[in-house]
């Protein structure tokens, strides 16, 4: 039992934290958010130079082959900075899925380009009536001559407009919720018949709905044909959920510090807000929530690759529940304690609040994971 980090891990954490503090101020972030793409390819290249895009790529494919703990430390810092770049999607989820699918040919083609930061690959899985369930796929891939024709819709795919290509799920057989029949296809973002309806999101990012209208793909687009695709999707999502939790933990820590700071400086009725016992206890509860969330983020990082699937599901759903509730409480109370100032776009606190809100709604909300957990016995 050990909660310390190796020297390398600590160095990584320090490096990333220093980098974002120096290069990703709130003002810089505001400019990036307002820019055309809503994220900065130049900054992405700097992340690549730091080796961060290579973190989750195995060494044999030019990556660093690091694990969930390293990813956790990076995401903590990205949480504090409210990084807008598609790190979670393109540098965690996509390489995790490629590895889990075990398609050696595609992996050796894509992973090096992901590691170097050249290629943005985005997983497009979620559909309009998905609430977290991975098996809910209605997009269809019909065999057509030598290839496939895809028809369907993908919903709120984060950073879709940044993608060079998608790893897109579609059914070659079965009904909407069947476990079997789900397959992953490589779909170039400029494929004929693919419409990308892009928009801003609550947390200042970009997402898109994808419309697939008779998108024709060659047969080699279907990847990981030998794998249990749904299991691979779940593996990749567990790794990514752990990273998402770590991002939330980074935010919570920053929000709590900002709130304490604010209440110490802000006076009302002749004394700092921080002297009012009710607000003190509120901040204690925010602190306790954040500590419990941190604990569960550790658990998520440690368990997200556990071979025991039940153990993994329990840990990840439990973590998402704790982090969802903690993020909601902390976000709401941070606004409340900042008073009117918390309502403005000017302070970072409202942006933290919105990102925490978005995180709770991502990949199944708190009730969804509570029910998943209950269903595991």
């Amino acid at each position: 039992m050990d909660f310390t980090f190796t020297d390398e891990q600590q160095l990584l954490a320090d490096t990333v934290q220093r980098f974002v503090r120096e290069h990703y101020s709130f003002e810089t972030r505001r400019e990036i958010a307002a820019s055309e793409h809503g994220w900065s390819p130049a900054l992405w290249q700097e992340l690549a130079n730091l080796g961060l895009t290579a973190l989750n790529v195995p060494q044999e494919h030019g990556g660093l082959g690091a694990g969930p703990v390293e990813t956790m430390l990076v995401m903590n810092a990205f949480g504090e900075a409210l990084l807008l770049e598609p790190y979670l999607e393109a540098a965690v989820l996509a390489p995790a899925l490629l590895q889990a699918l075990g398609d050696a040919k595609v992996a050796s083609e894509l992973l090096p380009a992901i590691a170097s930061g050249e290629r943005i690959v985005i997983v497009a899985h979620q559909e309009p009536q998905t609430r977290g369930e991975l098996n809910m796929v209605t997009t269809r891939a019909e065999k057509n001559g030598d290839g496939y024709v895809l028809q369907g819709k993908k919903s709120v795919i984060m950073h879709a407009s940044a993608a060079h290509e998608f790893l897109l799920t579609a059914r070659t057989s079965g009904k909407a919720t069947d476990a079997a029949g789900v397959r992953v296809f490589r779909v170039p973002s400029d494929a004929a018949g693919l419409t990308i309806n892009s928009y801003r999101t609550l947390d200042g990012r970009r997402a898109a709905d994808l419309e697939l209208d008779r998108v024709r793909l060659p047969s080699e687009s279907l990847i990981g044909a030998d794998s249990d695709t749904l299991a691979a999707l779940e593996t990749a999502h567990h790794i990514s959920l752990s990273a998402l939790c770590a991002e939330a933990v980074g935010i919570m820590k920053a929000v709590n510090a900002a709130t304490i700071e604010y209440t110490k400086n802000r006076k009302q009725f002749g004394q700092p807000l921080s002297r009012f016992q009710v607000l003190q206890h509120r901040m204690v509860d925010m602190f306790i929530h954040a500590e419990q969330a941190l604990s569960m983020s550790y658990l998520a990082a440690i368990k997200c690759q556990d071979p025991d699937i039940n153990e993994r599901r329990r840990a990840l759903s439990a973590a998402k529940v704790v982090i969802g509730r903690a993020g909601r409480f902390i976000g709401q109370q941070a606004i409340q304690l900042h008073g009117g100032m918390g309502m403005t776009d000017e302070l970072i606190v409202s942006h933290y609040f919105k990102r925490l809100t978005a995180i709770e709604l991502t990949w199944g909300d708190t009730d969804f994971h509570l029910q998943q957990f209950a269903g595991l016995g």
Partner: protein, 399 residues
């Protein structure tokens, strides 16, 4: 004990309903029901319609153009308007400065200002809060120096709602900086927003909307005749205005409308192939807020009944702000969660910028996250809920 309305009250309700069916513009109520917010011009349009019906000021006495209704009628009126999707009245003229002018204004002030409020010709805004003051109004710093028959006003106000639409502002200003207590030496001024030296700067809020402003005063000349009551007695009028709280603060009518909307959306959204409203956990959350709202409605009716009998408002009145705002926030949270990931697509949220076109997902999803964000304010403004609890602790529980 009887929870039913009298036949006269029922007849009145029918009259209101009929009026709404005939006169509430569909384009306005559709926007309200969809949560898109009300445009400034629509507020004015609706106020003119109410005025023409003689219902421009439900809470004012008849001699000033009001309806002279008792509190129960006012409640029925407000509830029906909310349920039908009429805009909430802009409070600053009708509910705030209007009653102050009626109570403390000179006959000239009453003649000059009240009819224009009634007809929707003047749009008032509020100059109470200052940077760094928040709920602690008595610490305000904006100065007004007397020069003959004018005051010269210098300072800054903030959290000024809809000042970018308003042509008049009522302000608390410090006229005697040497007064022994901070509450003393404050005066209550009415200021024409077109006076030189006034600058209105927007504050963008977290939902991307432009609802509030900072207002800067630089050597703004205000005629002495625009002062309410006595010099340095402004705190009295300010307290009157603040204590003029009404049961409508609970927002029960609009929460009922939102509850129906929540149920309707949760019937359309699917979870595991069944309507979300049939999910036992979600259904229990909806039931809980519905029950809380039922309880609050009775509590509001109790307060109303006390007011109608001219008994002092009972302790129940002070609960309305706290529970009413908590319920509003819970409803907005459940609404947002009901649409899952489709709460995320998010564009600017000001009424002037919103329309029915959803950027993605079902149409009803578009404004939900913005409303959730926007409603964080309701537990902060009007005296934060923490301040409300302090008030109950001190004045009701005697702690």
């Amino acid at each position: 004990m009887d929870l039913n309305y009298t036949p006269e009250q029922l007849a009145f309700r029918e009259e209101v309903r009929e009026f709404l069916r005939e006169h509430l513009p569909a384009d306005i109520s559709e926007r309200v029901k969809a949560g898109l917010g009300v445009r400034a011009e629509d507020y004015r349009r609706w106020q003119r319609i109410l005025f023409e019906r003689g219902w421009g000021a439900p809470t004012w006495p008849k001699e000033f153009g009001g309806t002279g209704w008792d509190p129960v009628r006012v409640h029925i009126f407000e509830e029906e308007l909310a349920l039908a999707g009429a805009p909430k009245p802009v409070p600053f003229g009708l509910r705030m400065v209007g009653p102050v002018i009626i109570e403390f204004g000179t006959p000239e002030q009453q003649k000059r200002f009240l009819p224009r409020i009634l007809r929707g010709e003047d749009w008032w805004c509020q100059g109470y809060s200052e940077p760094g003051a928040g709920s602690d109004l008595a610490s305000l710093k904006t100065r007004a120096e007397r020069h003959g028959d004018h005051y010269i006003v210098n300072g800054q106000k903030t959290w000024n709602t809809s000042g970018h639409y308003a042509n008049w502002i009522f302000c608390l200003v410090r006229t005697d900086p040497n007064a022994p207590k901070p509450q003393q030496g404050i005066s209550f001024l009415l200021i024409d927003m077109s006076t030189p030296g006034i600058t209105v700067r927007p504050i963008r809020t977290l939902d991307g909307a432009h609802e509030v402003n900072e207002v800067w005063f630089e050597n703004v000349k205000v005629p002495v005749e625009n002062r309410i009551g006595e010099e340095n007695k402004g705190w009295t009028y300010a307290k009157f205005l603040l204590s003029h709280e009404r049961t409508s603060i609970a927002g029960i009518g609009s929460s009922k409308r939102e509850l129906q909307r929540l149920k309707s959306i949760a019937r359309q959204e699917m979870k595991n192939g069944r309507p979300l409203l049939e999910d036992p956990l979600f259904a229990a959350r909806v039931a809980q807020v519905e029950i809380d709202l039922m309880a609050l409605e009775i509590t509001a009716l109790r307060a109303l009944a006390a007011a109608a009998e001219n008994r002092a408002p009972g302790p129940e009145a002070s609960i309305l702000k706290i529970k009413g705002t908590e319920i509003q926030q819970t409803l907005s949270e459940l609404l947002m969660h009901a649409v899952g990931q489709y709460a995320l697509p998010f564009e600017r949220h000001s009424p002037e910028e919103n329309d029915f076109k959803s950027v993605a997902g079902p149409e009803y999803a578009a404004p939900l996250a913005g409303t959730y964000c926007n409603l964080r304010k309701v537990t902060i403004y009007g005296g934060s809920n923490e301040i409300q609890r302090n008030i109950i602790a001190q004045t009701i529980l005697g702690l």
